[in-house]
């Protein structure tokens, strides 16, 4: 019987430093069947484990974009290229690209939540013909907090992207304002062919989803990803449970018509 708790060593191939406290760790891993929106338990001896979303899937590597906020992630920031970290996964359902193919797709992400949707954007960038239209609205706290700046620059050459910041110093040339500001401006030919993906802090998700519903987009076509304390990732420890739903097993990605019924 497979020991589903044992972490496996994974070499750090690269570290991409976006901001002082948000880095992407590229780790050598078998990527077969891994989907955007899934997560791994990153494990460090003496510190414990932490659920981290997959922020990029390449040939034999997976990216984890991590904010230095906890006891596990804190020690991770002392790691260097060539060091090993320990991982187990992937867990969760992730985003199913097939749900969005042939449709107008809008992705709204707040801050580090660009990580779980980055795989979707990469897929659209490489296969734009699969979608009727695509728009990315991504918001950060300030210009200094912008993640994946190079990717955003590259994607914007082919894709329709709005990068906005909540607040900026005087003279800032980019967009300033919350992501919700840009949703009412969206125009669609046929609302039944629109899919929206909304990921971010709880407050941002609540108001962004509300804006899509105001546009009359069906609840089943709005997709969200929930962050909870996914301690074991295996449906056992109970920490992530909401109602009869285990976020680690049944989610973290849900369509809003179901997600709205979940109660903390």
């Amino acid at each position: 019987m497979k020991n589903n708790y044992i972490p496996v060593a994974s070499e750090i191939l690269d570290i991409i430093k976006h901001t002082k406290s948000e880095w992407t760790f590229r780790t050598k891993t078998n990527t077969e069947g891994v989907k955007p929106g899934q997560f791994y338990e990153i494990s460090l001896p003496k510190r414990g484990e932490s659920p981290i979303s997959v922020s990029g899937i390449g040939e034999n590597y997976i990216d984890f974009t991590i904010r230095n906020v906890g006891k596990v992630t804190g020690i991770l920031f002392d790691h260097k290229v060539g060091d090993k970290l320990f991982i187990r996964g992937p867990y969760g359902n992730g985003f199913d690209i097939n749900n969005y193919k042939g449709r107008d797709l809008v992705v709204v992400a707040g801050g580090s939540a660009i990580a779980p949707v980055r795989g979707i954007i990469q897929h659209v960038y490489n296969n734009p013909q699969d979608f009727k239209s695509f728009k990315l609205i991504v918001g950060f706290k300030s210009p200094d907090d912008i993640l994946f700046a190079n990717d955003l620059q590259m994607w914007s050459e082919k894709l329709d992207i709005v990068v906005t910041v909540d607040d900026a110093p005087e003279g800032y040339q980019g967009n300033v304002g919350l992501v919700t500001k840009y949703i009412p401006e969206l125009k669609f030919e046929d609302l039944s062919e629109v899919s929206a993906v909304v990921v971010g802090p709880p407050m941002m998700m609540k108001f962004a989803v509300a804006e899509f519903l105001k546009l009359d987009i069906a609840e089943k076509d709005v997709w969200v990803s929930y962050e909870r304390n996914m301690h074991c990732g295996l449906g056992k420890c109970g920490h992530c449970k909401m109602d009869s739903t285990y976020i680690c097993l049944d989610g973290p990605v849900f369509s809003y018509d179901f997600a709205k019924t979940l109660q903390d």
């Binding site: 019987m1 497979k2 020991n3 589903n4 708790y5 044992i6 972490p7 060593a9 494990s43 001896p45 003496k46 510190r47 414990g48 484990e49 932490s50 904010r67 906020v69 906890g70 992630t73 090993k84 320990f86 709880p202 962050e227 909870r228 304390n229 301690h231 074991c232 295996l234 449906g235 056992k236 420890c237 109970g238 920490h239 449970k241 109602d243 009869s244 285990y246 097993l249 019924t261 109660q263 903390d264």
Partner: protein, 332 residues
């Protein structure tokens, strides 16, 4: 095989079984209880009939014997995780019908909710259960209301009549006792001191923000005792510790957790959910009589009443179930 034995014959059988089994039963620890001059009754290894406390309800459930409160999963160095070994001996647990019904619930989570849990399965495969017949209901028990007053799926059943012990031996490995063949049925409680009105259906929307939970905001102190004594609570947290003598070496453990205690829902970045104790009480109550049933088709709570026994604030879980039913009957 049904036998009537005297204590001597029973103890002889236990001694024989001890060669291959670690035998657990409720045991009384004098004056080790929570309050002054009270005993605590909990599961521990027993060698003879005299060691067993069969007159009183155990304060803690039998689940600790196959789902340890604190279980080391791995030993680690800085670059290696090594799985812990497991005791070769099998485990024999003397428990009551409610607790054996509780085992079914724990199995459901650890073996039937997603993949099988490696560490649980490893231990669980070694366990056999002897049901202790319950001739009468204890205080706060409501097993009849929860339909868990009887358990037939035992490896052995036992009745005690003074100095006579009746054993119904089902599992072959336990048929080592000598005694007089007889006929009997394992005792089970047919009536508790009170009945609980268990709702058949719960309208979650109606319960989610109902005022009835506000009472628990102030009454509950979030100590988690109700969870720790429950035979059906399955939650745990992972902990890493390292040794003072060599900080490069340590252990990864899992320890029982409580949805009533602060920090249970904490996520990175300082967010947490269900801050109010009433919300936590709602979460627990719904889990025991609604959520689990919605997922697996039967209620989680087995009505052992230990949560009511253990609460320092005298909160009654059985009364909370009654109140949910009452809310369900109310007109909107």
């Amino acid at each position: 095989m049904k036998l009537k034995l005297n204590v001597e014959q029973f103890d002889k059988g236990l001694a024989e079984l001890s060669k291959t089994y670690k035998i657990y039963a409720p045991k009384s620890f004098e004056k080790r209880g929570t309050y002054s001059d009270t005993d605590v009754i909990k599961y521990d290894i027993v060698e003879k009939f005299e060691d067993m406390e069969l007159e009183r309800k155990s304060n803690f459930s039998a689940k600790e014997t196959f789902l340890p409160i604190n279980q080391v999963l791995f030993y680690f160095t800085e670059d290696e995780y090594r799985e812990t070994s497991i005791d070769e001996k099998n485990i024999l647990v003397f428990l009551r019908a409610c607790d054996l019904n509780g085992v079914k619930r724990v199995d459901q989570i650890y073996l039937g909710n997603g993949e099988e849990d490696y560490f649980y399965k490893r231990l669980r495969d070694k366990v056999k259960f002897v049901v202790i017949g319950c001739p009468k209901s204890f205080r706060n028990c409501f097993c009849v209301s929860m339909d868990s007053n009887k358990a037939d799926n035992y490896d052995a059943g036992m009745n005690v009549r003074g100095n006579e012990i009746y054993l119904d031996l089902v599992d072959d490995s336990l048929k080592i006792f000598e005694g007089e063949e007889t006929e009997f049925e394992v005792d089970y409680v047919r009536e508790n001191n009170f009945m609980v009105d268990v709702p058949k259906e719960v309208d979650f929307e109606k319960m989610a923000n109902h005022d009835m939970w506000r009472e628990y905001d102030t009454r509950c102190i979030g100590c988690g005792r109700c969870n720790f004594v429950c035979p059906t609570c399955t939650c745990f947290s992972m902990q890493d510790i390292f040794y003072k003598e060599n900080i490069k070496v340590g252990e990864r453990r899992r320890v029982h957790a409580s949805c009533q205690v602060d920090g249970y829902t904490n996520i990175a970045g300082g967010h947490s959910f269900r801050e109010r104790h009433g919300q936590r009480m709602r979460f627990k109550t719904m889990h025991k009589i609604h959520d689990f049933k919605e997922r697996f088709g039967y209620n989680m709570c087995v009505g052992c009443g230990r949560c009511d026994d253990a609460c320092p604030q005298y909160i009654s879980f059985s009364k909370a179930i009654d109140k949910v039913s009452q809310v369900m009957r109310e007109e909107d």
